[in-house]
């Protein structure tokens, strides 16, 4: 917290004093902005505001003063509605000498309504200073009594809640609660849920016998129907299969039975399912009990304990999916891998995913899905790329990339470092917090094909160019010293003369 300079207070005072009809709104807006900025702003505004009010109290009311009064009152009300009012007001009052009728006269000067007065009193009843606290309590009680006598006030649900809580906290005030309940029933409670806990009244005595019934029946079928459909939308096959474990893929029939309990099995759902399967390729041994529960209760059959699977059966899974959803577009499925929670834990997981894809779809892997752009789930993207770049060429290759860097030289494994899309997405990932992971991925090319890497990253421009600089500073000096690498320099100059 930086101490607010005295200048700001002076400026504020000036603003209050120079209010005219024409600039009234803009000044009010400006002051409210200060209040919005937080606790410090609110304290400052309230302090100046109170000082002005007290200063003006004895003065003759001329036109200018009335306008100022109106502004002060508006601003005070604005503060009153803020959650930080309690703390701010208590803080401000510690510096003001309190007389017995201070609160009363203040609220009269500001022309506060009963509800607003209650708000002021309740705020003070939270003070650390016992004297202020006492005053706040008394004031609140007096105002609540008045509210109960004249219930034709507009009181928000929230405030009623505050009052109820206040009354509950102090013994001997519960007598007001009955009155308040009556008041509440008179008030138009427009917002349906009224959340204050009802007192444990005697049933016979309750005047409004049917209130609880309305409450019960109040939640209509529509509410439940929409809730049910919302829940339904959120239920994901992937989560369920991951919980039930490897038993789900024991054979085609069982797998199809389980996969069909949640509709629909569309591309997104399949993608999430694959994500879950890949993420749990080991360590689900304890799931068998759940699986047994589920199978015996829902599918009404028994499981054979002896034949517990220890890993997913990818073939069963893919075949079942293809039978249930023959129109699955596996390229789309791969595109949807960018979903929350997708993460490939290790190499085995990666190869499992690839074996699923190759069994499901004959086309080469859609590279644009994983390095076409920055994913929303960056962690997941990193985990995929980390294994992809070092995968053996028969399992995964970048050779069919559309933006392939053609540089004379021996072909490199799975062609990862010739893929410009990959380099671009790695540069981007490095700048959104994954520099460490990306650096470790670059160790291999830095050692084995530095020029290729340098040329590759020189094609990429990002906001901070973090990775590009690092690669450059690492490779460039050696490049300069080596006269045989002039062609690389030449190439670099032509692709990106700004690389420096």
């Amino acid at each position: 917290m930086i101490p607010v300079s005295a200048d700001v207070a002076a400026e504020l005072r000036l603003l209050f004093e120079c209010a005219t009809d024409s600039n009234f709104d803009s000044i009010r807006r400006e002051i409210c902005q200060l209040v919005d900025s937080g606790l410090d702003g609110c304290i400052l505004v309230l302090r100046v505001c109170l000082n002005q009010v007290l200063l003006n109290a004895g003065e003759v009311k001329n036109l200018q003063l009335q306008l100022q009064q109106r502004l002060l009152s508006d601003v005070f009300r604005y503060c009153l509605r803020k959650t930080c009012f309690t703390t701010s007001f208590c803080e401000v009052l510690t510096t003001i000498a309190l007389t017995d009728d201070f609160l009363e006269s203040l609220s009269n000067l500001l022309e506060l309504s009963v509800a607003e007065k209650i708000g002021v009193g309740l705020a003070l009843s939270d003070s650390e200073n016992s004297e202020i606290k006492q005053k706040g309590q008394w004031f609140s009680i007096a105002q609540i009594e008045e509210l109960c006598m004249n219930p034709i006030q507009s009181v928000s649900n929230d405030q009623i809640h505050e009052i109820v809580v206040f009354l509950h906290q102090y013994d001997g005030l519960l007598k007001h609660l009955d009155t308040l309940n009556n008041v509440v029933s008179l008030l138009k409670v427009t917002e349906r849920p009224f959340f204050a806990p009802v007192t444990n009244g005697d049933f016979d005595r309750q005047p409004n016998l049917s209130r609880h019934l309305d409450m019960y029946l109040g939640s209509t079928n529509d509410d439940f129907e929409s809730l049910l459909s919302e829940i339904g939308k959120e239920i994901s096959m992937a989560d369920i299969v991951a919980e039930l474990g490897y038993g789900c893929t024991v054979d085609n029939t069982r797998c199809k039975e389980i996969l069909s309990i949640v509709e629909p099995l569309d591309d997104v759902a399949i993608s999430k399912l694959l994500g879950a399967v890949v993420g749990t390729h080991s360590g689900l041994g304890d799931a068998h009990n759940r699986y047994a529960t589920f199978v015996s209760a829902i599918l009404n059959s028994h499981t054979n304990d002896s034949s517990q699977l220890t890993k997913w059966n990818a073939d069963v899974l893919v075949d079942s999916i293809n039978e249930l959803a023959p129109s699955t577009n596996w390229v789309r499925v791969m595109e949807y891998l960018d979903h929350e929670g997708f993460n490939i834990p290790d190499e085995t997981g990666f190869y499992l995913l690839m074996s699923i894809y190759t069994r499901a779809c004959k086309d080469p892997f859609p590279l644009h899905a994983v390095c076409g752009s920055l994913w929303k789930n960056r962690e997941g993207q990193i985990s995929f790329l980390k294994h992809a770049v070092s995968a053996s060429p028969d399992k995964f290759t970048f050779a069919h990339s559309s933006r392939h860097l053609d540089l004379a030289g021996p072909s490199q494994g799975n062609h990862a470092w010739s893929c410009l899309d990959l380099l671009e997405v790695l540069c981007q990932l490095a700048e959104v917090g994954y520099a460490t992971s990306v650096r470790s991925m670059l160790e291999y090319p830095l050692g084995h094909c530095p020029e290729l890497l340098l040329v590759g990253v020189s094609h990429v421009t990002t906001v901070y160019n973090l990775l590009q600089y690092e690669v450059l500073s690492c490779i460039f000096p050696a490049l300069l010293k080596d006269p045989t690498k002039h062609n690389v320099m030449n190439y670099l100059w032509h692709t990106n003369p700004y690389v420096n």
């Binding site: 906290q169 959340f195 019934l213 439940f224 809730l227 049910l228 529960t293 917090g433 906001v463």
Partner: protein, 825 residues
């Protein structure tokens, strides 16, 4: 005995004495006719007779009552509200008539000779309430049956509190009642108290029933005719008859009500009312076959039946008090008793027992009987119970699927229009919604959880735990970045670094303001969600929880002192737990409850002794749970107030957490951090440093604020109990990004302390100390954006901008943005 305050003694038109005899016989005949029709389920005939009867005895509340009941049976009672109102009126009218009669009698006999027919109740030790004196004024104006029927209706509407408040006076005045009615009152009351999880009261009733009806020597059946004749003399036969079918609905309510209430320590979650009750439901199916024979056979249950029924309640009570060993034994007894009967209730109880004992396979097997899958109401319960089992097996998503199925089935009951009372009674949607909500909370879906709790409110709004859970929706949303609050951190926090200029003039601007999720507030959009998932609402929920908790503790205290021989001081007094709660009970000295014999190993001890020790055990559990709840509520309140920029209140709540007796070290830690943060916001960094310094050992090193066991014990999801120490305006520091439901690991907590102390030191100008602390803290929380920012801040204070840039580069939560116009901030 005082007469009731007769506000408006209306002097009803009583029949002249001369005519009365003739009238009486005529009406008696008609009443008998109506009674026979009612018993024979010919409700239309019955209504017709009653209509004629009403012509003759206009304004007789009993006939009105009978008429209303008959009509309800005729059309299934679609408007229970109206029925309740009629009964209420009838009751008031009866009381007025009784009052008037007595006034007449008094004026005739002279005032001195009061207490005429009240003698029936004279032997009763239980206190009378003024209103129910009336019922002792002769059977003519007895309101017992009317009151009972009101309670039955309220029970079916799931309004257990009101039902209890209606029925309890009858129970207190049960001695003069005829045996049949008394039995019905007791059974209904048992259902109600078990629904309310009031073990003490339920045990009291069971013990009373054993004593009063002496399970061994039950009313001989040939006593019944005399009762019946007695009734026929009165013009109110259907009243009596209406009782058995109605109460029949409650008869076999043995079931899964509230399985595993309370907090499962390992799960950090609790399912109150997990398995829903079977109230009514089997009976509805069965009523048609059973009821006829039963109602005509005898009004009271046969001795064997009564025994079985009581045994069912006993088992349910034992399950509620979690005395599983004895429950198992008693269940065995029950199975033997029930040999040859339809044992579905027993099977379900057994399934519940196995569930409670952790034998989930067995529980599932017992649950999966074909009977349980017969009709929608049954299927709803089946899926709900299965969901509970799966929950225990940590299969949260699958259990959501089960609950949604259960909800679908229970909603299918609602399609019937208008809703009949019996259907309403089977409607478990609130209960299932609650379970569903808790499950969504576990799965990290706060918005759906809030919607579920919203629907569960009618049934749960009196339970503190419910409100705590409701508030956790908002806190979880905050943690997930679906809500914004100043000073709160979410797991999506990012440090935004704006890159301005290029080449050697390139500058970095650390944008401290945007320390919030990139989702912004977009997550919470729709109106309903906005209301239910917000910090303001969370505060309301927590306050509700606190109020209710205080209320239950006071209540408990009263009951404990009333039934001192039962429980020996299981309740500890909370000393004005900071709530400025002058009403707080500075109750009895906390003496350890007698936990001996809890498991009732010794077969020799009477069941009553076992019941009492189970009760003591259960009360101790409840006390501990309440304690945990209080910590969580106060801690969360402190956090919420901080987020709402109300540090004064946050400070006072944090202080009250520290005052909670036996507070867990985890919450002590949180309260210290919250208090320190509040003090910082109040511009009192020195006080804040003092608060935190309790953890400093040997110079500048900090001890672990708690260990793993503490944090595991520390109740519930510690979701989003993230805290935040605002020091200099340049950086807002601190906190973890705690994994939902995992809480802060002790090492991370220590890291938070280091960072926070570093910030207070920095503000006080002790840069060297700050530097040391922040480096220790950052080592413990390398991925925490706030820790990184704190460290960057200290570096900048010392003019080491290059180090600061390196730190930013390596931080995983830093996001570089091009600085064009946005750089102004």
């Amino acid at each position: 005995m005082e007469p009731p305050a007769a506000k408006e003694a209306p002097s009803p038109p009583l029949q002249p004495a001369a005519e009365e005899d003739a009238m009486l016989s005529a009406t008696a005949v008609m009443a008998k006719e109506a009674s026979v029709a009612f018993q024979g389920r010919r409700y239309a005939d019955c209504a017709e007779v009653l209509t004629r009867l009403l012509d003759m005895k206009e304004g007789d509340p009993k006939v009105h009552h009978n008429m209303a009941i008959t009509k309800a049976f005729l059309d299934g009672c679609p408007d229970s509200n109206r029925l309740l109102k009629i009964l209420c009126d009838a009751k008031r009218r009866s009381e007025e008539l009784a009052c008037a009669t007595r006034e007449q009698a008094d004026s005739a006999n002279g005032v001195g000779n009061s207490a005429p027919s009240g003698s029936r109740g004279s032997g009763v030790a239980l206190p009378f309430s003024a209103t129910h004196n009336v019922s002792t004024y002769g059977d003519e104006f007895d309101t017992t049956i009317i009151t009972f029927n009101m309670a039955v209706i309220l029970y079916h509407l799931h309004d257990y509190e009101s039902a209890l408040s209606v029925l309890d006076p009858l129970y207190r005045n049960i001695e003069p009642m005829d045996e049949t009615t008394a039995l019905h009152v007791c059974f209904l009351l048992l259902d109600i108290t078990l629904a309310l999880q009031d073990a003490t009261k339920a045990a009291d009733i069971i013990q009373y029933m054993e004593r009063a009806f002496g399970v061994a020597n039950i009313t001989s059946p040939n006593e019944n005719p005399s009762i019946a004749q007695q009734q026929l003399a009165q013009p109110k036969p259907p009243v009596k008859i209406s009782v058995p079918p109605d109460s029949e609905l409650n008869a076999y309510a043995g079931g899964y009500e509230n399985l595993s209430a309370g907090i499962l320590p390992d799960d950090q979650i609790e399912f109150e009312s997990l398995y829903s009750s079977f109230d009514g439901h089997q009976n509805l199916g069965r009523r048609i076959f059973n009821d006829f024979s039963r109602a005509s056979a005898d009004l009271a249950a046969t001795a064997a039946d009564l025994k079985v029924r009581l045994q069912i309640y006993k088992v349910r009570l034992l399950l509620l008090t979690r005395n599983l060993k004895v429950a198992k034994r008693e269940l065995k007894v029950l199975m033997n008793m029930a040999r040859g009967r339809d044992s579905s209730t027993e099977l379900l109880l057994k399934s519940q027992l196995e569930y409670a004992r952790g034998n989930y396979r067995k529980a599932v097997k017992l649950l999966s009987t074909p009977h349980n899958r017969a009709e929608p109401a049954m299927l709803a319960i089946f899926y709900n119970n299965l969901g509970c089992i799966l929950h225990r097996q940590r299969s949260y998503h699958t259990s959501i699927w089960c609950f949604s199925k259960a909800l679908k089935y229970t909603l299918s009951l609602r399609s019937e229009k208008p809703m009949k009372l019996s259907t309403l009674s089977q409607d478990k949607s609130c209960l299932i919604s609650y379970n569903c909500g808790v499950q969504h909370l576990m799965c990290g879906k706060p918005l759906l959880a809030a919607s579920c709790f919203r629907e569960a409110m009618p049934l749960f709004y009196k339970r503190p735990l419910f409100w705590l859970r409701f508030s956790e929706c908002s806190l979880l949303a905050l943690e997930k970045g679906l809500l914004c609050a100043k000073g709160a951190s979410s797991c999506n926090d990012e440090i935004e670094v704006i890159v301005v200029g290029s080449g050697q003039w390139r500058q970095l601007i650390v944008n401290h303001v945007s320390l919030r999720s990139n989702l912004g507030c977009a997550g919470v959009t729709s109106g309903e969600h906005k209301k239910l998932v917000s910090l303001g609402f969370a505060r309301q929920c927590l306050l509700n929880a606190l109020l209710l908790l205080n209320a239950t503790e006071q209540e408990n205290w009263v009951t404990t002192s009333n039934a001192e021989d039962y429980i020996q001081g299981t309740l500890q007094g909370y000393k004005n737990s900071g709530q400025k709660n002058t009403t707080s009970t500075d109750s009895k000295t906390p003496s350890a409850p007698t936990l001996a014999n809890v498991n009732g190993e010794q077969k020799g001890t009477s069941l009553n002794a076992t019941l009492q020790s189970s009760l003591a055990f259960y009360n101790e559990i409840c006390r501990k749970e309440n304690l945990k709840m209080r910590q969580a509520i106060l801690g969360n309140l402190a956090f919420v107030e901080l987020c709402l920029e109300n540090p004064l209140k946050a400070l006072s709540y944090a202080k009250s957490v520290m005052q909670v007796k036996d507070c867990s070290r985890m919450y002590i830690f949180l309260s210290h951090v919250y208090a320190a943060e509040a003090l910082c916001t109040l511009n009192r960094p020195t006080d804040a440093a003092e608060k935190l310094s309790v953890y400093i050992r040997d110079g500048n090193d900090i001890e672990l604020p708690y260990n793993m066991e503490n944090s595991e014990k520390a109740l519930v999801e510690k979701d989003s109990d993230s805290e935040d120490l605002a020091a200099a305006t340049v950086t807002k520091v601190a906190t973890e990004e705690s994994e939902y439901s995992e809480g802060l690991r002790p090492e991370e907590a220590r890291g938070v302390l280091y960072i926070n102390l570093a910030m207070t030191a920095a503000v006080q100008g002790k840069v060297e100390q700050a530097n040391y602390m922040v480096s220790r803290g950052l080592a413990m929380l390398p991925n925490n954006p706030r820790a990184v920012l704190a460290s960057v801040y200290i570096d900048l204070l010392q003019g080491k901008s290059q180090e600061a840039v390196v730190k930013l580069r390596h931080c995983r939560n830093v996001r570089f943005r091009p600085g064009s116009i946005a750089a102004s901030s």
